[in-house]
Symmetry: C2
Subunit: 427 residues, 2 copies
Amino acid sequence: MTLVSQTDAELAARLFDAVAAVSGEGPGMSRESFGEGEDRAMAVIAAIAAELGFACEIDAYSNLWMRLPDDDRNAPPVVIGSHLDSVPHGGNFDGLAGVVAGMLVLARYRGRAHAAPPLRVLALRGEESAWYGKAYIGSLALLGQLPASALDMPHRSGTGTLGDALKRTGLDLEAIRAGRALVKPGDIAAYLELHIEQGPVMTARGWPVTAVTGIRGNLRHNVVRCIGEAGHSGAVPRWLRKDAVLAVAELLSRMDEHWRVLLQMGMDLVMTSGIFTTAPESHAVSVIPGEVRFSYEIRSQDAATMERFYDLTREECRSIEAARGVRFEFTSRIDTAPAAMDAGWIGRFGEAAQRIGLPLEQIPSGAGHDAAVFANAGIPAAMLFVRNEHGSHNPDEAMEIADFITGVDVLAEAVAGGDQASVRTQE
Amino acid sequence: MTLVSQTDAELAARLFDAVAAVSGEGPGMSRESFGEGEDRAMAVIAAIAAELGFACEIDAYSNLWMRLPDDDRNAPPVVIGSHLDSVPHGGNFDGLAGVVAGMLVLARYRGRAHAAPPLRVLALRGEESAWYGKAYIGSLALLGQLPASALDMPHRSGTGTLGDALKRTGLDLEAIRAGRALVKPGDIAAYLELHIEQGPVMTARGWPVTAVTGIRGNLRHNVVRCIGEAGHSGAVPRWLRKDAVLAVAELLSRMDEHWRVLLQMGMDLVMTSGIFTTAPESHAVSVIPGEVRFSYEIRSQDAATMERFYDLTREECRSIEAARGVRFEFTSRIDTAPAAMDAGWIGRFGEAAQRIGLPLEQIPSGAGHDAAVFANAGIPAAMLFVRNEHGSHNPDEAMEIADFITGVDVLAEAVAGGDQASVRTQE
């Protein structure tokens, strides 16, 4: 029994290649949110969908919906979707893989739509925050949740705003501002998304496909300042120093150790200080650093874990302030809620995998996804990850098509709910 | 018994004010090494010295020597000196205080030179590295130790070299290149330097004057790179991360703790990482930092302590490399030898202070001084520090004249070797 169908692999390759061909100059893929690259990707997808015999519809917020033309049922459908945009010079699979996966599942039911539950494939726009500093634009708008203030967010180039781009794409800005939802929670039975893993766990563990347990929320301070006191590096003894670098080094080392212990206790947590810098205008080899600016980010699937780790961070700051005579200043805190994936669908993924002889491990998603928006709006949402090397958001994404087809098999099998013949026989 | 002589204080104030008046536009003092500000300061000092009845001589390397005209002895003299230059927009006391102190001591022997050992006051040029990246130019040249390569060092503005400036000041570049010494170790009985403290210890402890035990050497890497691996801050779990910020934070925290313990054990040591930065072109809040560049400096009065602490640093780097999958890359190491101050003169300072009822504490000098050049050339050298707030190399240096006069009293008393009347009675 081979899980990889030659026909599926060929269709997948055709779809990936056709979109790559219109994704701008290299290196990598540039499919700008509500920009030309995304427009062209959507046009290519819609053209092949029509060729495959799917009925296509662009909604009022310019997302693309695909269905089988003989599916005339009114029951809330299972939606398989993801996004078409990419970061600048990103990879071809982040987002696109989920749309292609949906199309492959839909293709298996051509001519016999009633053999499956009502199905829709959704190609969303604007998931990447790289262009306007705002993520999940398409899905938030669809659910009436895009804040009006987001329309004023500037393009990464500094020229133009998200509102300008939405208008150019033909969206009704008044409807967006009014929070008019095109989809309400009861309208959709489930939102399913297949995505490449953006971390190295599955490659390290040898897992081709996994079910996602939840999508981590995050808690950020983009800038924390630690203010000490500059001084002559030779002339000030240790007991009179207020060294900002050593203070922040101690803070991060303490939190790193707490992190290690909490993982040992089974908690879900990551912590990152991606930006750390002394003052470029005044720092010097022979000057005790009087100021450090650093970013601080905590992510977890569990809001309470984030909150407690955050409280611990602030407590450690107070202790270091008292011991070292420095001061920590925190800019505004930015919160994104974690999203739990639907337990029923995680179970269905596991059963489906078992039926096709695949052990299905579960992992959390550290990165955010449109699925979190649907889940937090009360729609049962679930995700499959496909093994991928070199992370994402770079041209070196490396997903094997064989792994991808295995993911499509699990997805199709789960949608079918046990009727293998209906989904695994190719036409 | 008052230690502050009105006459001394008046003369000191006159000298400080006269030099300040020709030290360029504010803020602070700008007496450029081998430049106009230093020239003008030397001219003002020479003019007042002549008025005071001193014999002045400019040597072949354009340093100013002052003596009493009736001192015709040939025995090696005790030299009291310091430098006239300042950093750009520095304070008025760093350097100048030592020259003024020498002049005040010399003034006390006017008309009776033979009541003291042979005395010379030396106003050196070019001690500050701020102008040409090279420190102790005047004293190194005097002792035949200025490396020929230093002549090519560029001015901080990028225009012109140290060689150009020396030539313009009238120095014989061939003699400098040939390492021709104007002073050999046996020519000078001792080099004594009074200087403001450049750290906060004396203010914190309430010590007006201290004897300097030694001048710390330093060991530097201007740039150390820690190379880890960038990755998605949400998607990579702790066990697969190679976080350069956490690696360097751990290194500095470990070294900080070792430092604390070594101080406890009585060792002399300071450690500074004045520059610490993630890669500005690629760092981001949501990216695991893949690279950190930081400076690393160790100072101590004891070369072996520096060397051992350095070895410990490299060992901790190896341990962190193994544990965290990062790599440390060290650029070339720069060494400056520590200098011990002469025990005999430290003792004489202590006895002198005792005679005038002042407890004299001892502290190391973290910053470098011309005295280190003399000491390392084999000339007995010693220093007194005078209390000063706000450090040095900035316009906010704050030395009280009363403290300064106390320092002059200790210096004069030590030179006299117990004959109080000879040095503390004003004319």
